[in-house]
Amino acid sequence: MAGLGRYVIIRASLIVPTVLILYTFVFILLRVLPGDPILAVVGTRYIPPAQLEEMRRMAGLDKPIPVQYFDYLLGVVLRGDFGKTLASPVGKPVSEYLWERLPATVELTIASFIVASLIGFITGVGGALRRSSRLDTSIRIYSILTYTLFIPVLGMGLQYFLGLKLKLFYISGRLSAGIYVPRLTGLLLLDSLLAGDLSAFTDALGHIVLPSLTLGIVLSGAYTRLIRNNLIEVLNSDFIRAYRARGVPGHRVTIYAIKNAFIPVVTYMGLQIAMLLGGAILTETTFSWPGLGRFIYERIEYRDYASIQGAVILFAFIVGLMNLFVDIIYALIDPRVKY
C-alpha cells in the first residue's frame, strides 16, 4: 500500500502543471483579447471616470498584470477566493456562488454518467457479441448520431414528449416550489434520503430524470464505441482462445472478456469529464438546472467576466482532480500498472 501512496503523490503533483497551464492560458486570454471587462459591465450607461477607476481598483485591474496573475492564483489556492462579482450584485464573492452552485452540477454529472455508462455498456457489449449483424450496424449508427445530437435539441424533444405530452417527469428546475431539503452535501437526492423525506426524494428524482437522460444519451455513444471495439479485440485475443480450447463454458469466457475490455474504458473516463462538464452548461441552460453551467450562462447576460473567469478556473481544477482520480482507479484495477 506504501507504493500506492507514493504513486498517488506523484500523480497528484503531475496535475499541478496541467492546472497551472490552463490557469495561465485563461488568464492571458482574458487579458490579451480586446474588450475591457469594466466597460463591458457598464455598457452604454454614463459612469463618471472616477467611479470607473474605483470599479477597476475594486476588481484588482489597476495593478500590473504579473501582480494580478499571482494575486489571483494565491487567492484561489490559499483562500478559495475567486475574486468579486463585477455586475449586480456588485462585490459579492464569486466563491459564494460557486460553492452554492457546484453540488447541482456534481449531482447532474453523476446521474448522467450512470445513464451514459449503462447505455454504453448494453449497446457496446451487444454490438461486439453480435458483430456485423443488423443490430451491430444500428448500434454503430446510434453512436454516430449521439456524436452529433445537439444537447438542447434532444433536451427539448424529451421535454416535449416525456414532460409535456406524457407528463411523466418535471421539465425544469431541481425541486418543486414549497419543498425544502436541509442542505448537508448539497446533493438533493442524498440529502432528502438522509433527512428521511421520501416525498422530497421522489420530487428531486422526477426533476433529474430528463436532464440526466439528455446528457447521458449524448455521452453514451462514445462508450458504446469504445466498449464494442475493446471487447471485439479482447474476444480475438490468444488468452480467450486458450480458455475456449480448454473447454471453459461460453458465458464464463464472455464474462472474462468483458472484464478485460473495461480497463481502457476507465482511462477514457478522464477525457469524458471534459465532455461531461461542457455538456452540463447546455443541459443546465435547457432545463433551468441551477448549477455552475447555468451560472456561467446567467453571468454572460450580465457580462460579469470575473464570475466567468472564476467558474472556468474552478472547472480547470475539477478536470485536473478527476484525471487524478481516474489514474488512481486505473492503477487499482489494472495489475499491469506499476506503482
Partner: protein, 285 residues
Amino acid sequence: MALSLSTPILAFIRSFPQPAKSMLILGLAIVVSVMLMAILAPYIAPHDPTSRVYVELQPPSWKYLMGTNHVGMDVFSRVIWGSRVVLFVVVVSATISMAFGVPLGLASGYYGGPVDKALSIVMDSIYAFPSLILAIAVAAVLGPSPLNAAISIAIVYVPTYYRMVRGETLKVKQMPFIEALIVLGCSDATILRSVFRNIIQTVLVVFSLSVADAILTEAALSFLGLSVTWPTPDWGLDLRSGQPYLLNGYWWIAMCPGLMIVALSLGFALIGEALSDYFSIATKV
C-alpha cells in the same frame, strides 16, 4: 463539360466499400444541400425572414411549411437564411485553426526538441479542458458577434489539429523516403511539404470530424447568446427563443432550426466516418 470534370470525383466515391459509401453519399448530400441553401437563400426563401408575414404561432401548413413563430415570422425562411451564419462561423473558424494547428504540428513533430515538448504540454492541457467552456470564456470577453464566435471556436480547435498532425508527422518521419530526401540534401521546406502530402488524408478526416463538432459549438454559442443578436435568423438563437413556446406545445419554432443543426453536424460526421474507414485511420475513439 461539367460531367467530365465530376467524373474523377464520382469514381472516387464509387471506389468506397459499403457501408462507407452510403455514409459518404448521405453526408455529402446533406452538406451540399445546406451549402446550396445558404448560397441561394434570397431566391428560395419564400418570405422575408425578419418581418411579420402572418398570424403568430401558426402550425406548419402548405403556405408556411414550418409554421410561423411567436412574432409571426415565417420559420421556413428563417431556417434557410440561418444556414448562412452557421456556415460562415464554421468556415472561418476551421480555416483559422488549421492555419495555426497544421504548420505548428508539422514543425513540432519534425524538429522535436524543447520547443516541441513545451508546445505539446500546453496543447495537451488545453485539449483536456472542455472546449465549449473555453470558447464561452473567450466569446464572453470578445463580445457577441459571429466573427468573435468564429475566433473563439478557432482558438479551442487548434490543439485538435496540432495533436493529430504532430502524431502523424512523427510516424511519417521514420519512413525511408524522408531519409532519402535528407540524404539528397533537400531543403527543410521541400521535406516538410513532402511530409504534409503524406498526412493530408489524416487532416481531411480530422477536418470533417472537428467541423461536425464545431457546428455544435457554434450552435451552443448562439444558443447562449454569444453570436448573432435577434432578429437575425440563426439556428441556435431560434432554438433558444423558441423554447418557451415549445413548452406550451408550439414545437415547430424551436425544433425546425434545432433539427437542422443536428442534420448538418451529422452530414460532416458521416463524411468523416466514411473517409476514416476508407483511409483506415483510427480516429480518437
